[in-house]
């Protein structure tokens, strides 16, 4: 049980890192008009993106649709 939780957490974190890279290199410029040209703050978002990646994907899709 404990090993399963640890493996699930590692998988969740790995997918989150992938989502974070995609979002920071591509997505953020598409859904946030104040982001293009601003790069120094982006690494600060990585922990939050990794922790909240399912919600980030959902919100990203909603904002993409609106734009």
């Amino acid at each position: 049980m404990a090993a399963t939780i640890v493996h699930a957490a590692m998988f969740y974190g790995a997918v989150g890192m992938g989502v974070a890279v995609l979002f920071l290199l591509w997505g953020i410029d598409r859904i946030d008009p104040t982001a293009p040209g601003a790069y120094a703050f982006r690494p600060l978002l990585i922990p939050g993106l990794v922790l909240l990646w399912p919600f980030v994907l959902l919100r990203w899709a909603v904002l993409e649709f609106r734009h």
Binding site: A35, A38, A40, P47, V50, L52, V56
Partner: protein, 343 residues
Amino acid sequence: MSARYVPVSWNTSKLVYDALLLAAIGLYIGVYLWVAPSFQHATLPLDEYSARMAAFGTCAFFLLTLILCIGPAARLDRRFLPLLYNRRHFGVLTCAVALTHANAAFEWYFSYSPLDPYVALLAGNTSFRQLSGFPFEAFGIFGLGILLLLAATSHDFWLAFLTPRLWKALHMGLYAGYTAVVLHVALGALQTAHNPLLAVVMTLSVVLVASLHVAASRKSALPAEPEDGWIPAGPWDSIPDGRAIVVPIADAEPVAIFRYEGRLSAVTHVCAHQNGPLGEGSVVLGCITCPWHGFQYRLEDGCAPPPYTEKLATYRLKLADGMVLLDPRPNPPGTYVEPLRVA
């Protein structure tokens, strides 16, 4: 405030705030690790790892207690307001201190485990059905998780991305985190403590947080009954120049009525940036200035000066026998309202 995400330039007060915070944390840890051991009982020496765990753990607990006290203390006494200004850094530093505590505990208890250390952490104690020996680590992991989540979402980007309502709700999770930390200490360190000092200090801390919140909530006045649709807000000369009074409205956001250079203007009490308490701010260079992050708005229309785009709801005011009357129906954000001349 910033129109785009650029590194915020630190002014003197922010630097002093952060320097004092870092110095206080450094002093606490230093005294705990290098001065206190000379006073401990010779028969119960504290090893280096245990001392690190206790130093950073208690430090994180006290920082969390202070963070939770700042809000109600500032509502009770304006002199605490400067402590609100940089609370974000306070929170991130608290998370770093808590992580150091967790790392020290992890190294001490699980580094030499034959199992994967993380598996050992989760599987080491599963006595969830009994109070004595309860796996208090679970509360610590939960509390640390909340601190990590709040620190990770403290950047302005998250406020816009999550929406202010959701962001605020997420960050109210700090109370759940504090509760988890109290349980973590009560079921962990307090079970093996050799003197009552930790129990006394922790109880006093919890009582302090609770009583400040109760006192601050009692201070908030009940909404006044409207007369012909207008709410009496008080005599105009009771409003300090450059400051505001906050008028509670039934089933709606409170309204801040500012007095500046002989004129009164009313806007919502809730900042468009992070829902900060605008009415606890002041007028700086002719603009309402939020006490939390310095976002500014014009008095007459609630608009942030260009190039910024945030807008506040404005309200109509009138005078009757020296009494300020407020129309509680908000105008659309950014609506111009002629300031009420009083002197």
